[in-house]
Every structure is written in C-alpha cells, then in structure tokens.
Amino acid sequence: MSRTALGEFEHHVMLALVRLGGRSRGARIVLELEAATGRTVSPAAVFVALRRLEQRGYARSSKRDARPGEGGRGSREFQITAAGKGKLAESRRTFERLWGTGDPVAEPS
C-alpha cells in the first residue's frame, strides 16, 4: 500500500477521468460526476482535486490551445497516468477483499 489511500472524492474524480478516456477538462469531469452521483459537484473541488492528483503523479495535464470562438487562453486537460490506474486497481482490490464474496450487508428480505 502506498502512503495515502485515495479520498472518496479523489476516487470519484479518477474514475471519471478513466471513464471519459483520453484528456478531459475539469468542466467535463464536473458534469460527469454530477451525472453519475445525481448531486451537484463543486467545480472548485474538482479543480483542487485534479491538481493534487497531478502532484501525486496519478494524473498529468497539458495545456490545450484555445478553440476558435471560445476565447480565453485555453484550459488545462487532464489524463490519468499509469500510476493512477495502478492506484485505482489497488483501491478496488482493497474494497473487494473487504467485501469478500457474497453480500455481507444484504438485508434479509
């Protein structure tokens, strides 16, 4: 196990990165997470989380050129790294070990 486990929100952000595939901007991730969780997601939280993930080596970013008509300087695009994928897989295994087989919390119906 590496130093720190993923926080739940970071976990979500990374999974969103994986699901979107390739490079994605923060705003896309916000929408993805909102669609998946059905809750509003703070763009600031995503903004911070992506940069922390990058600092930990789980994501990397590049500057995309501004598209015509969009104006601005172009925002940063994020992508998961191999280390990030490994971390996700590790988290998943941890969860699976903890869950075990069957459904330990299933309520008797």
């Binding site: 923060g26 705003a27 929408l31 600031a44 903004f47 911070v48 922390r52 990397r60 590049s62 790294t81």
Partner: protein
Amino acid sequence: MTGVPPRFATAVLRLLLPESVRDEALDELRDGYLLRVTQCGRADANRWYRRQVPAFAIRVRLAILAGGPLTPPRTSPIGNPALNGSERMTTILADLRYGARAMVRNPMFSAIAVLTLALGIGANAAIFSVVRTVLLRPLPFPEPDRLVQVWESRRDRGWNQSSFTHANFWDVQDMNRSFSAMGAITYGSINLAGKDNPELLGVAYVSTGFLRALGVTPVAGRTFADGEDRVGADERIVILSHRLWSTQFGADRSIVGRDVTLSGQAYHVIGVLPPGTPWLDAGDVFMPLRRGPNEDRDSFELSAVARLKPGVTIDAARADLNRVAGQLASQYPQAKGMGVTIEPSEGWVASDSLRRALWVLMSAVGFLLLIACVNLANMLLARSTGRIRERAMRAALGATRGRVIQTAVAESVLLGALGAAIGLALAFGVVRLLRAFDPGDIPRLSDVSIDGTVLAVTLGAALVTSIVTGLAPAMRTPYHDIVAALREGERSVVGNRRTVGLRAALVSVEVALSLMLLVGAGLLIRSFGALLDVDRGFQTDNRVLFNVTLPNPQNEADAQRLSALRTQLQARIAALPQVKDVAAVSIGPLRGTGTGMGFAAQDKPSPPNDAVPWAGWRMITPNYFKTLGVPIIAGRDFNAQDVIAKPWRVVISHRIAERLWPGESAVGRQLILWKGQQESVAEVIGVAADMRDWDLADLPSYSVYMPFNGAGWNPSTFVVHTTAAPTAIVPIVRSLLAELAPSSPVSSVRTLDALVGESVAARRFTMLMLAALAAVALMLALAGVYGVLSYSVSRRRTEIGMRMALGASASTVMRLIISQGMRPVVIGLVAGVLGAIALSRYMASLLFGVTRLDAPTYAGVAALLTVAAVLACYLPARDAMKVDVLTALREE
C-alpha cells in the same frame, strides 16, 4: 455571443483568486459555464456561475493553505513531469516535422548547410574507408600479433637490418627457443608456356616453415611438409598463388595433383594458397627453398618471418636470438659481428611513409569536418539570432529549456542526416575514383569499400556533429530576459554582442584550420614539383623498357649461350630503322632495388668496416649510357670486348669518383668491390655522370657498372631509344625474339616516362588529395567569413547610414567594414601559422626538396587566404555602400 460569463462575477473572482491559479481557474469556470449554457440555457448557467464564484475562491484558498500550492509538480506549465515513451516520441516527431518545415521554408540555407556537412562527412567516410582497409584491417593470418619479421644485423659493418644469409638462417631456425615456426623467402622467376605468348611468372622460394609460421590454410591441397626443403626431396612440386590459380587455371580445384609445365619442366601442383597480401602474393608460384649442404654466410638474400611461441614476448625473443647470433659469431669468422633484429608484423601491409601519408590525410579530413561543423554552427547561430523572438515566444508560452533545445537539435539532426546521406553518396564516388586512380603502391586499395563499420562511424560522426552544432544556438535562448527578447526581437541587445563575438571566434578557427590544411597541401605540392624538377641524370623521352627472359642457364655453357643471345637481340634491335640506341641492363632504372656492395679505394687507407660506403651495382651492355642520354665524364664506356671476368673492369658513377678520389682522376685506379665480403679488385675504366636511378627522392646513387657480356643473368632489361612512339617497337621485338629463342617472354613493358610517373604516383596521390581537401576547406572558411560579415553589416545599416549622413566617405566606410571583417581572419592566420609550424613536423618525412618550415609556402598560403578573405569581405562592404541614408535612418 454566448461565450461570455457574467462580467461582474468574473471580475470579483479575479480579485479573490490567488495569482498562481487565477487564469486556470477562470478558464475552467468559463468552460463549465459554456457547457451549462448548451445544456440548461443561459439563465441557469448565469446563476450557477454566480454561485460558484465565492465557493471557488474560498475552496482554492483553503486548499493552498492546507496543502501547499496547486501548481503542477515541476515548474513548467507544459512540460509534463513524466512524459512516457510514446509521448516523448510524439514530441520528437513533432520537432522533426517542425525542423523539416523550417528547412523547406529556407531552401537556400538548408542546401548550403547540407552540402557543407556532406563535404565534411563524405571526405571522412572515403578516407576512413581507405585507412581502415589499408591500415586497420588485420593481416590475413591467425594471431598476427605473434608474427614477427626477423633480420640479421652486422654491427661491425654498421648494418642494423639486413637480409639473412642462407647458413645463418638455417642455424637460427634450428637453435632458437622462441619461435613455434620460422621461415625464409627469396625470389626468382620461371616461364609458363601459355596459349599465345609465354608468360613470365614470379617464383617465391620458401622454406617449409614459412607458410607454417604465417599459419596459412591452403584453399585446396596442402602446403609444404617438413623435409620437402631438403636436398634429395622431390624438387618438382609447386603451390599456386590464388591469383594465378584464378586467372590461368580457372579456379579449378582439380588442378591439385596434376602437373603444370614451367620452363619446360613438369611440376606437380600440391596446393593453392588463399588470396591476400602480404607474402601470399609474393610470387605467382611457391616452390620449396632448398637447404644445401654448404650454405654460405656472406650473401644476404633471405627475408625471414617467424611465429612467437605463445607467451613469448618480442623482447624475450630478441634476447634469445642474440644469444644464438653470439654463438654463431664466435663459431664462424664470416658471421663476425652478427646480431638479430626483430620487428612486429604491423608494418607488413603499409610502409612507414604510406602510413604517415594516410594518417596525414585522415587528420586533414578530420580538419575538414571540423571546419564544416564550425561553418554550420556559424550559420545556425546567425539564423538563431534572427529567430530569437520565436524562441523567446516559445519560452514565454511555457516551453522548457529542454524542449527548446530538443526542437533546435531536431532541426540540426535533420540537416545532419541529410548531410550524411549525401556525404555517403559522395564517399562512394570518391572511393570509386580512388580505385580508378590507383597510384599502384597502396596495398589492398582494390578492397576498399564503404562497409558497415564505415557506415556506422559516418553516421555516428554526423549525429555528433549535428547535435553539437545544434546545441550552440539553442543554448542562446534568452531565458534570463524573455521580456526584453520579446520586445526587441532581432534587434535585441541581449546576447547579440556575445553572439557576434562567438561567430567571429568561429571564423578565426575556420581560417586557422584551413590555413593548416593549405600549408600541408602547399608543402606537398612544392615537394612534388621539386621531385619532378630534380636532375634525374637520365633522359626519359622516347625510351621504352622491357624484360626479356631467356631460357634459364643450367651450366656455364648455357650462360655463355644466354649472353650471346642477348648480344644478338641487341644487335637486331639496333638494326631497326626507328631505333636510335639500344642497350641491356641487369636491373633497369627505377625498377626496384638491387643488391648492394661495399666499396673502397685500394690506394687509400681502408675505412673501418662500419664506415664502408655502399653502392648499387648493375651489369650493362655497351651503349647503356648513350641510350639513357648520360654522358661519360672520364675514360670510356664498355665495348664488345669487355666481359664479366677477371681482370675486372668497371665504370663508376661520378659520386664514387668524388668520394674516393676527390679532385683526382679516377680512371685507371683500383677499386675494391664487395668490401668486407668476398673483396675483388677492379680497374676503373670510366666515370659516368650521376643518376637518380633507384628512387628519384634519393640522392644520386653510388653506382658500380660491370659488363653484362658473359653473364648468365636472367631476365635482362632492354632499354630502347626510338625516334617516335617507343612502345610500337615491342611487337617487333617479340617477333625477333621468337626467331632467336622461341617461348621466351617479353614482359614488364614500360616507357621510361611512365616509370618516372609511377615512381612518384604515391606522392601525387597524397598531394592531390590534400590539395582537394584544402581547396574545399578554403571555400568553407570563405563562406564563413562572408556570412558573418554580411550579417553584421546588415545589422549595422543604421549606423552606416548615420555615418554617411554625417559625411563619411564611401572609402572610409568600406575600410571600416573590411577592417572589421578581417580582424578574426588575421587572428586565424596567426593561429594557423603557429598550428602549421607545430603540425608540419608530422609531415617532414613526406617532403622532398623543401623544409617543413618553407617560408614561401607559408607566405604564399597566408597571402592567398588574405586576398580571398578580403574579397569575401568586399561583397558585404559593397552592400553597405548601397545603404540609402534616409531609409536606414527611418528603419530605426
């Protein structure tokens, strides 16, 4: 316009956000805003946006307080901290594409750059392939480092290296403890009865240990076995050289075991040698060298090679052999003073002077490549100054220093790759040219080719070259002051003064290097001129030489018959209308080296043994001097009555007369021949003018001439002086000879002019190569001078315009520009002269008739470079003249 989020909220957020993430955060929020506009409409999006503003600012501030800055792990905005392999590849490809576009955009620049590199790389590949084949490729024998050549020495006579005498060779072979095998070789000739004309074959007589010492494995059959060199063993056995086997016997393996007819006798073929040089091509056929019962210790004829036993060093072998020599010297009076010299096999393929010449050429092409690099770096620097704004822009946009360098290097690597490709094509051409102009005495030249190693070395050189030259401009990206660079761009003061200084220094380097090359070429050219101008002593026009091989004499009567045949042939040739003079000689002028003899005057005190002078000797028919146009200074030429018998009569060269009897008449004096050997006394009947008949680069020879009449020597070299077209005589001679002595070959037909040409061919080769390299170097250096100056003139247009507006005359401005351009040239000249003085020492042995510090050469080369450089400066200076004062001032 749907793309603008609420302005007030944006302005507030801008105030609240920390600077480090301000732009990114605003971009990201705008991104989200735009997505929402398309999904939920503008009103919703506006509401969302306004709600996010305080939250965003607070969260980001808190995050920074809690966990440090949000900037990416490394400081570069773009530079991804961990580019993986495929991404790095992508950026490299992108850079290469970028480089290709830059090349296409500026085709003239690219063409010159590529050509410059191609010249440097091509010359290197060509010469390296020669050096590699001739000097570096190992000998065609196993474990060549154990092979040595062995010589006798006779300290009492002052000889450090001499051929072995027969008896001493056999004794050393038997008594040494250092060699696993030792062998000797000597040479002769024999006739092969061919289909049309009989062919004269070279015979190498080798002891049975010879091929064993070399470790030769025959292509077919076997080599000589122990005992086959004893008297009484089968004498009629022969091993064929690979060349003869291929050309005369169609490389037919079944020749082994069959008989061939040589000089009328049947010889049994026992084997075929592999191809190669040295030794394996020493003869067309190899026969056993017989060990006679009573060999002598006084005629030095055998070359000896040996293979050291494993673990025995040359020094140990030397000590061991000198022990043997000491024993022989004390045992036999004729071996007095005997010692032994051993040399490693390194020098077998290329003589010292050839090695020297090739290394000089190799250094010259190295210089040329250096000049090409300097030139290219200079060009790239000039252009990079022009593109400083572009690189400042890239840096401002976040390109890391690494990326900027990678881009620049990708571009020059592209240039390098193209240069290498064209350079290799050039090298192929040069190598073909070299083979076509084979000067004759460069061994293995026909094997020279651009092989894998040459290819690898060339590509390596190209890669290093282009990376190094690409780095120089890339390092000059003004990271320390991007803003100034952006603002001032090409006119930027930042780094420009230093760049100009650097470029001037590069010009100095180029000038110095090309001056050194030019001095080298100049010295060789002057040597060559001196060599052609040297007083040869003999005339060459309309003279032809050829060898005639008569049936080998078996006894004294045969020898007399041979001599009579030679006299008859001479008479018949003389009778031909187109022949002015004809003579025969044992060894023709410029035809290799004969054996020598010590000599002394009988009427003078005898010099100590090691101070006895050494003369070459020849047997000649009457008329030899007249045929060669050499005057008899005193006494007389031989006539038909002079024969090679006692009382000995000789003609000597003027130098011998001057040495032994200075200021006196030599005619009628008694001369001791073979002084220190068998010592015969001969009467001097004439003195002939001096000739340089062994090697043009030597002093005129000490020569002793004896009558050919009565000698059973074979083959004879005929010299014919004709009225015109000397070689036209040869078919007539063939038919005359066919009447006198059928199946006697005429061989080695050469005009004397051609022989002179061949004797200087190696020098001509080195000279032409170096001169060509120096010319290319000069061109490149001038291009460098021109490039730097014209760039600096273009930069100073305003200043020049100002000067002219203030009343400076055209000639003043011209002088200003030229003196500025010449400053680095003069520095380069001084450095180059010093360098040439230092390096010329390595060329001293290649020179003839000039010293390595020959003042006219240095002065001439310096003058040539100066004039050429002034011309190169004149063109940009003339452009400066054309500056229109008003335009120039307005530009600022």
